[in-house]
Symmetry: C5
Subunit: 360 residues, 5 copies
């Protein structure tokens, strides 16, 4: 299950802007790919010396650097400083579990977003922070783990498919964000299937586990919403950005991306509403089922009650020899069959009555 | 039942603006009607060569092209490109299940809306995306299926009834949107009837199916609202549009259309509120009914309990010959009648008590 | 009960602005009164020729025309056209069940509001649309039925009481709207009494009918709110109106009217909140009462269970002659009294225990 | 209990601005105190002739007139007219039960607020309307009853404590409003204590009365909120007032007053949230308690059921002399002790089983 | 548990701006530390004479004065007056339990915030007001108690770590606020753990205490939110401040702080949503468990009912010698075994039936 809060106590008391990694301990090593491209050329390399990166900042070609393995805080700090990033930016990159946001600095735009992953096997979501730094001709991306979500965009870049190669790093940023938002749709589609399965299960065979599933779905929706709401603000912020980092030609794409984000948000809200309604259905189903059982059992018991009474009646020891009024039935020739018939009659009358009242 | 999410995973990972059809597979073929009209002339034709359409773009007469059968993505793409539509527009036309929206391009306005259909037989709603492209003298409409909703407007055009022929394509767009909003009213009217039926059923004879119906109505309201809220924004956007596509003379009609959309929205919200309240009524009705049954059964059982005890009492085997204190009743002349009267008296006392307490 | 939606399907598919009457079929005939007044003169007449009305439009005296009997759509249409009303205005006048709204036309202001009536006998609300057309020196009012709500204002005009005669038709419009808002207060006052009665009934003697009443009150509040919210916008629209139809001197009155509308709205919301809370009280009351009954019945049954067991015990047929251990009690001199005392003792012990546990 | 709506029907149909008193009939007579003060002088008097008040309007010293006993509408009307108040102002002063509001007139500011009183004995709130008219050098206050809430401010004025004497009537208005807001805190403090008591009662010993109390607290919160929300707007309106009635030097105090009002509002909302949560706790407590009783009773009954069966078994009349298989136990030497032991064993087994299942 | 309202009645009726301490009575004495620092120098001292402080106001070095022990109102008042603080500021410092706020005065900025403490042992939150006064070169902090939350910042100042020494008192204020917001994260982290524990307990073993815990968590969230919402406004106010107190260079840090506050708020809202959902889970769990017990008991009882009936049947005293129809079973050779088999058969049939119906 998604953790509600990341452990932040490690940081409390430190100076603001301290480069400390907050996040799950992953054993993965720090690593990075450098992609250099323009309309005509494309190269991928894995540089070793961190201190030469800043030279790239002002080259005319577009540079995309993918960093992964953030737990090596010192190396990440060194790398970021070589790009002239503000200490608060570095803190936000390392301190994963941030709320999605956009920060405008003089030299670059800084974006934090959350990527949601859905594990088909366990049906659980997990969340990963991706940070973006957009300069005039470079884009840095920081992943907690070695995520492969952007691999197809890398492939498109390499094969020179689509518009990506022809346009600047601002379009590349858009393409990456579009990939992230498309990923939300994939996750929602799976959750949508889960919700529809659950709706059928609710009617057919509700069990205490069903309520558990509803609750954890609701919880996931709450956390998903917590990621998408600020994402909407981030993309809106990009769209309205008045700095030169996002070119005019990318605006129309950002409008489209914004619309998609709104649609994700709408769907999350719709799911929340539907899931909330399911709890009523569940409680009512369970209570109906229980009531049915109790009703049948009670009716069963009620039918035997007069029979047992009749049996008890003729089990009384009144002295029949004392008086002709004392239980003459006991000495009748058809006394026993009479009693049995009386019992059968009572039972049938009751069954007819209950049937008529539609009690079963 | 309305699907919660359209399958979008087919698209995730593709370049933004890729022309892929997302939607229900319908076997219908790509087709189109071309309506050419002005105050004096009117003609309908079905052109074959797609590459000549762009010639129409700048003719002085008004042109309305109705496209249906979107699953043939390649043909639609080719057709749209001939009109100079932006790749994102084409993507949105093909990728049905969009949130209603309005996009302003330099050469045209692009609108996406959802048409709601209500099947009287199954009492289920279905949703279809209709896209509109409004140029200076042409209007394109794209339907997922071969919808006949605009046929009466076509007939009015042909018969030169109303204002439509005398005015431009902007008025035609208004007339089509007005038709869509009127259609919402028709659907809401039917749902209103269903809600009122349900309210009566709730009181008269609530069954587990009633709750199912309430739940699916609630679900439909959630999805309906999801279509109408953004529609409101779309029509507001049209109204405030500062480009030249919507003429001044059409503004007053758009204000009216906007008011109608608000009214649709109001009604949807009202239904949601009323339907929410019905769940409480249902649960209370069911619980009342169950309680009544259980109470009657319990009272029935309770009445027999003392009788069975009395019968048991006189079924004890105390030796009456041993002592005059040992169950002398057994040897009384009217012992048995006495016992029966005792039982009858007990029963009557209990019935009077329960009646007085208003327990049945 | 208030209908949720007016039948609008009769209209779907017609050209926008078609003059079709949508509303309850009332047999009342079309009729109108014409009131002509200024500070010095006052006359009421019932003109016959509809085509001469437009002559009145520009006379210096103030003219108030009250139209009722809207189902005669053709006559209303003709009348309205003679005043130069826009087709959309005429459509809105005839198509009753509109959401309250204000439309600004070049020649006039158009207002639609809903009048709520409360039937004391059936305790049900009904709704009637009243449309207003305010020109520079004339005011038209359109009633679905022959409503007498404005009769006292007519009387004030005639008797030259208050400010109405001295001021223009804009003040008259204010006076009429003030009357409508005062009417909301009267309705709310009656509903307030009903709510307070219900609160007492809830505690004293809740029945399934109580829940029905709560539900229908809630429903009425939802529909009332649907009328008052847009009314607020309408009056706000009048207040901020920059055209010349509402004079400066009437603004201070409109501010007051606006405050009253807010107060109506506040009261409706308060009632909604209180009524919502009543459902919990009801469910809890009913469940408490039921639980009490079941508890008493169960305790009653439980008390007899050991008695019946004791009776059964001494009804066993062990052979007392076989052994001194076999039910010697049966041959005791005080065997039967002993058994009865045993039973009495058991009962008393149980009653004390239950009393101590505060179970009854 | 607080009435939901004031009786307003007496007024419906009257001309707007009619001076009719709407409110509880109190026998108190019309009366007024006139306080005249500046930094150096202070005098209190009770003038008799109402028509001389207007002379005071333009004196350089500050004048505070406290009016109480509003049911004498004619006298109040006469008094107000002598100050040149607008008919709508007079109507609002007399028609108590107004929503708090601020009206800007050319010659004065008009404020209506609600004072909440809390009766410690009955634990009930009552509401009183206080109206303020602030001119350039005079302040009028209108009380429904002879309220003593402003007595301590009068005393401060008299003893020349604090800043009040040195400043104008605008500061006096602030001081009075501050007193009213402080009074809200006192009421909330008492309600807070009631809420905390209730929270303890809920856990210790919930009774149907507890639910009554929760409901009436909730109702009070709804009505309190209805008074405080508009009060916030009123004070905000004062703060942003651009007329000359509120001096610059009082602004900083109004900001403080506004903050306090927000705090009152916050507390009301907090109470509402907490009280809402208490209903769940109550329902759950009651249901738990009931369930416990039913469970114990059921277990008790269940324990006796097999015992009664065993007793019944050995009460059967099979002919033991016919066959050695027919109930040989009846003739055993230790038959009866065997049966008793069988019963004891059954009981103990069941008790152990129930204990293990943690059923009691 | 956190008190809902601070005792404010002590103050009602006093002149606005009266220096009265409202808060918990703590025996701690008034005390203060004075920290004087710039990039090169650092000194801490504890001055005795309060009347010399104002001399510090205009020194070029930065001065931070920490005041604790507010219950000595007179001394605090004297101290504050020596700094030229406004009476309303002094009132707000002393009257703890304020809503967080920011006030702009000509000479200084005044901030009030609430610090939340979480006691690990009792799992309870407590709240403390901290007030800040920021002048051009001095910062005053006022603590209710002798809080050590800012000690690490003092240590950083002393050791000249981080940026604090190099920057002005505006950065120091930021650093202190950042410490307070980080503290919210620590508290939320602990509450998050508590929530997750509770979620497990809910499924594994819900008890009435669980509901108590949910309720008190919900209550804490309500109160926490009441502190954080206005804190957000305060920090936003600081950020948008146009006075010279907050320098340009600190703005980027305030943006970051604002983002963190939003994240705190988001987390509080998330917790509220999750905790609300837990009540449904709890009620359903408890009801499920109870239902299971009742079902098992009922089934047990139902199984014995026909057995007891059969035993009662053969306990009837029909005279077998009178007729061959009168209970011939009693004289059969295998009569008793037949009866026992009949009982066993009945039991097995019922068990199979119940098993098939999945009733246990």
């Amino acid at each position: 299950m998604l953790k509600l809060v990341k452990t932040t106590s490690r940081k409390a008391g430190l100076s603001p802007g301290s480069p400390v990694f907050i996040g799950e301990k992953v054993t993965e090593k720090f690593g990075l790919d450098m992609v250099d491209y323009n309309a005509d050329n494309f190269s991928v390399s894995t540089p070793v010396r961190l201190d030469e990166f800043h030279l790239l900042k002002d080259t005319p070609s577009n540079t995309w650097i993918r960093v992964h393995g953030l737990h090596d805080a010192a190396t990440v700090d060194k790398f970021c400083l070589s790009f002239g990033l503000h200490p608060l930016t570095i803190e936000d990159i390392l301190h994963t579990g941030q709320r999605p946001k956009i920060d405008h600095y003089e030299d670059y735009l800084f974006l934090v977003i959350n990527l949601i992953k859905y594990d088909d096997a366990t049906r659980e979501m997990s969340m990963e922070q991706i940070s973006f730094v957009l300069g005039s001709s470079y884009l840095l991306t920081f992943h907690e783990k070695d995520s492969d979500i952007f691999n197809d965009i890398l492939a498109r870049l390499q094969n020179n498919k689509g518009r990506t190669r022809k346009m600047g790093v601002d379009y590349l940023l858009y393409a990456l964000l579009d990939r992230v938002v498309d990923n939300f749709f994939s996750v929602l589609e799976k959750i949508g299937e889960e919700v529809e399965e659950l709706e059928e299960e609710l009617i057919a065979d509700p069990s205490p586990e069903t309520l558990q599933t509803i609750h954890s779905l609701k919880r996931e929706m709450i956390l998903l919403r917590k990621s998408v709401w600020p994402l909407r603000e981030v993309i809106n912020g990009l769209q309205r950005d008045e700095t030169a980092f996002m070119g005019e030609s990318v605006r129309v794409y950002l409008k489209d991306l914004y619309d998609h984000t709104i649609q994700v948000l709408d769907t999350v809200e719709t799911f929340r509403d539907i899931i909330s309604g399911m709890i009523d259905i569940y409680l009512s189903s369970v209570s109906n089922r229980m009531n049915e059982v109790m009703k049948v059992l009670t009716i069963f018991a009620v039918i035997f009650i007069p029979l047992t009474f009749i049996a008890g009646l003729y089990g009384m020891n009144f002295n029949t020899s004392q008086s002709p009024f004392n239980m003459p039935e006991l000495n009748w020739y058809f006394g026993y069959p009479f009693a049995l018939l009386l019992m059968a009659g009572t039972t049938i009358t009751m069954l007819i009555y209950f049937k008529k009242k539609k009690w079963f």
